[in-house]
């Protein structure tokens, strides 16, 4: 075990944590928001759009993240370039940081999974809750926001937690699409000196710590959101 290497490499790898977190939070934020919209559209059975969404969701859940990242890596810059051209501007896409493309891909991936989670958790809220809300004269929107969503969120949190941790792990693929996140950094640092064991043990520890931290956070949030539920005593 080369401790000199560890002392030198560890801080370097840690410097990549912010970009990993950036990828994670950005993709989760936009992805889950998009997923909620998709879930609502599909539940309301909006013609044409629901079917299109169903297909897109299926695609994004079936294709491995690495392939989605690669496709975004080629498609997004081209799309930006051609869109800019169409409104008369010439953009040099090579200055756009690669992390943007990864976030785009992961956002769509997250949206697909999140939409399914939201669909099932909203459906799981008993119909009686909606009826009671309507019977006191609430509009459908009021009923959704005040009664349905809070209960659906409580059901969804465990799944969302798993989805989030999965997202953190997916960011490790950034290496292949030009993002210098945790795993890439570990790779690059250990290549010249072949200190693979040290590098990857450190990397594993860092990911495990992140996973542990967020599991705790989500667990606490779940406890808070489900405080209205009956506590199982036995």
């Amino acid at each position: 075990m080369d401790f000199q290497f560890i002392a030198h490499a560890f801080p370097e790898i840690c410097k990549a944590i912010p970009i990993t977190l950036l990828m994670t939070f950005a993709s989760a934020f936009f992805g889950w928001l998009l997923g909620l919209i998709v879930a609502m559209v599909r539940r309301s059975k909006v013609p044409v759009l629901s079917q299109i969404f169903a297909v897109l969701v299926s695609f994004n859940r079936s294709v491995p993240s690495i392939i989605l990242l690669y496709i975004a890596y080629y498609v997004v810059p081209a799309a930006i370039y051609f869109y800019a051209k169409s409104i008369g501007k010439e953009i040099d896409v090579s200055v756009i940081p690669a992390v943007i493309y990864s976030i785009a891909a992961l956002t769509l991936n997250q949206a697909a999974y999140a939409s399914e989670i939201f669909r099932t958790s909203i459906d799981a809220v008993g119909e009686g809750q909606v009826e009671a809300a309507l019977s006191v004269g609430m509009t459908k929107t009021q009923a959704m926001f005040r009664i349905i969503f809070p209960q659906a969120l409580a059901t969804a949190i465990p799944n969302l937690s798993g989805l989030f941790i999965g997202l953190i792990k997916d960011t490790s693929l950034g290496y292949y699409v030009g993002v210098y996140e945790i795993t890439s950094t570990a790779n690059i640092i250990s290549m010249p000196t072949l200190n693979f064991i040290e590098a990857y043990i450190m990397t594993t520890i860092i990911y495990e710590l992140l996973s542990f931290l967020f599991n705790r956070l989500f667990g606490a949030e779940e406890k808070h959101l489900t405080r209205f539920r009956a506590r199982v005593t036995a």
Binding site: I71, T183, F196, E208
Partner: protein, 234 residues
């Protein structure tokens, strides 16, 4: 940007890439079988009496769920040989498939363990009690009454895990294996990197179709399991 895309080549690419399907399937089914085996042991241990074993199994599940598969691959492929070289085991000569199957079996074993645990616990305790009361032994009760019901409950989860595992096999290319994605990339590099996007789209389509097939198969299995019953569960 002077790149042109030849989307018409995609169907042809799909056929060429599919030559590598057997490799992917070997990885998939080997990992499936081994991860189920490990998962069963871990699940049993996590529900057992010995506190130490219980703790270890829970830790195993948490650990495997927190580490990215890519990191695990590097750890085992690059790191482990370094560790074992001094004691005379020269892993660098081993078949690469060994590494990917081991990695995937380990990481998937956590989800398998959770699946087995959840479905086992979901079977009503009264079922086992009734079985014992008619004179069955513990193992008979398990084989004839509890396991079949647990299996029925597990079918959807098994389907999800299979899809996830199948997607994970896509990382085999990182250690030079010519599975679906590996073959796709080698086709592209053989034409001097000309049709990068096309091969990724072709691979995506292949993964998509196979995932849909797995999902359909799972639903069919669920249906046949529910013959004459209201649900696949008790």
């Amino acid at each position: 940007m002077g790149i042109t895309y030849d989307f018409a080549s995609i169907p042809g690419l799909i056929v060429r890439i599919l030559n590598a399907l057997p490799v992917t399937l070997i990885i998939l089914f080997s990992s499936l079988a081994i991860s189920l085996g490990i998962g069963a042991l871990v699940a049993a241990g996590s529900m057992g009496q010995k506190k130490g074993l219980q703790g270890f199994c829970r830790g195993w599940i948490a650990f495997m769920r927190g580490v990215p598969t890519l990191v695990m691959i590097f750890l085992l492929y690059l790191g482990l040989p370094q560790l074992l070289d001094p004691i005379g085991i020269h892993m660098s000569q081993w078949n690469k498939l060994f590494f990917i199957i081991t990695t995937l079996s380990l990481t998937a074993s956590a989800n398998m363990a959770e699946m087995i645990r959840t479905s086992y616990l979901a079977v009503d305790k009264g079922q086992r009690e009734a079985a014992l009361s008619v004179g069955m032994t513990n193992s008979m009760a398990f084989k004839r009454i509890v396991f079949p019901q647990a299996f029925g409950i597990a079918i959807p989860m098994l389907g999800n895990n299979m899809v996830a595992l199948f997607k994970e096999t896509s990382l085999a290319f990182t250690i030079g294996i010519l599975d679906i994605l590996g073959r796709a990339r080698s086709i592209s590099s053989m034409s001097y990197g000309a049709n990068k996007l096309e091969v990724y789209i072709a691979s995506a389509i292949i993964y998509w179709i196979i995932c849909v097939l797995i999902e359909q198969g799972t639903k069919a299995l669920e249906r046949s399991y529910t013959k004459g019953r209201k649900r696949a569960t008790a």
